[in-house]
Amino acid sequence: MSSATPRIRVACEVNGRPVEAKVEPRAFLIDLLRDEFGLTSVKRSCDVQVCGACAVLLDGRPVSSCTLPAFEARGHSVLTAEGLADEPLGEALARAFAQHAAFQCGFCTPGLLLTAKALLDSAPAPTAEQVSECLEGNLCRCTGYKKIVEAVLAAAGRSAV
């Protein structure tokens, strides 16, 4: 459906680079990231903020890009899983997920990596309980979560108890 509503200019930072786009007010952040910028690590799944597959970091904090309007990114910085490769912590998390077999189908993995990064940024040495609590809003239907928690603890330089 075409819209008569005025478009909104969104200037923000995505994965460390300044970007700009014009969006409809009704466009969600996931649409901007996937369709405009080609960042397809951002997965649409439940579409109601429950599963975490679409999670991205907005100024370092996890948000559900499926339900956050794209205009909310104006003046802020967005990090997707594509941008994790440029960060030591992102690299450590990705390596730990691979080494601990913390994914099978991989659909939830980008959201889990980003949510785990946000946790380790604020709590560099979390307990297993803190990791579980932080990731409780990210659904994985393959792993049973144990290996994910182990991987996050390993990336933080701690072993699972």
Partner: protein, 285 residues
């Protein structure tokens, strides 16, 4: 989702005027974590989205004469992480830290949650333990609405057309008060939330508040059950005591349980008994 026009007022008066001018076609937007879901689902027509976050100062979390004043654009994360909330209103911080999931808490607001009046939610039930008010601004000026009178039905509040909630004002619990809030759920949203506040003087309960959310259509106090607690010795109020069992039975009887996806009315009345017992025991401990 249907297209809409975004409005970004810089004062509550301007937001109120926009709402009055556009009527039902306009919706107030703070975090949008509930509103946008309803709009995506096509349940709520909206041609004009009025953003309260562009109003300066709307995200403040501050003390005013001992009362906690939470601006309408303050997110759950901002509230639970504010030192004044953690220090002076630890139960508010504790409950706000467990609302929905981290992503919703980073975007969703307390005022937005109260205005949406979703029955399966924690904040309204929590705030019934306190003397709390919604501060609203409309064409005829500012007024305050007690939390007990704010939500009048599922998804319906006492706000008049054109009124904008600007803040939530929470008074401290009275001296000698102890409080607890417990929740339980099998889905994303809570199935039950129970709050208990006991004010104890010389070992005896002199004031009691019990609140119940997610089970009835609108979060409510349980006055008959509260009355049974008066005069009880706090040290006897454990989960196994017969006095507490009697209170729990009274609470279950007046729960006004709704049959829905979270369970049958019988199941929910059972949960009310269990969680009222535990909440009282925790508050008394």
């Amino acid at each position: 989702m249907r297209p809409f026009t975004l409005h970004e007022p810089t004062s509550a008066a301007e937001a109120s005027a926009l709402l009055l001018e556009r009527g039902e076609a306009a919706r107030l937007y703070a975090g949008g974590t509930e509103l946008l879901l309803a709009m995506k689902g096509g349940f709520l027509p909206c041609d004009h989205l009025v953003n309260v976050k562009t109003i300066p100062g709307m995200d403040a979390v501050a003390l005013d004469g001992g009362a906690l004043v939470i601006g309408a654009a303050a997110t759950h994360t901002a509230i639970e992480s504010a030192p004044i909330v953690r220090e002076r209103f630890p139960l508010v911080a504790q409950v706000e830290r467990r609302v929905a999931n981290a992503r919703v808490r980073n975007v969703g607001t307390l005022a937005g949650n109260l205005c949406f009046a979703e029955p399966h939610s924690d904040p309204a039930a929590l705030l019934l333990l306190y003397d709390a008010e919604a501060v609203v601004e409309g064409a005829s000026g500012e007024r305050r609405i007690s939390i007990a009178d704010l939500q009048i039905a599922p998804y319906e509040t006492a706000l008049e057309p054109g009124e904008v909630m600007t803040a939530v004002r929470i008074s401290p619990l009275p001296g000698g008060a102890r409080a607890a809030y417990l929740k339980f759920g099998i889905h994303h949203r809570p199935t039950i939330g129970v709050g208990a506040m006991l004010r104890v003087a010389e070992g005896v309960v002199v004031e009691a508040r019990l609140s119940l959310g997610s089970v009835p259509p609108v979060a409510r106090r349980l006055p008959e059950a509260e009355a049974l607690l008066l005069g009880e010795r706090a040290e006897h109020l454990n989960a196994e005591s017969s006095a507490v069992a009697e209170v729990a039975d009274a609470a279950a009887a007046q729960a006004d349980a709704v049959d829905d996806l979270h369970g049958s009315t019988e199941y929910k009345r059972h949960l009310v008994g269990v969680f009222v017992r535990r909440a009282i025991a925790q508050a008394a401990a």
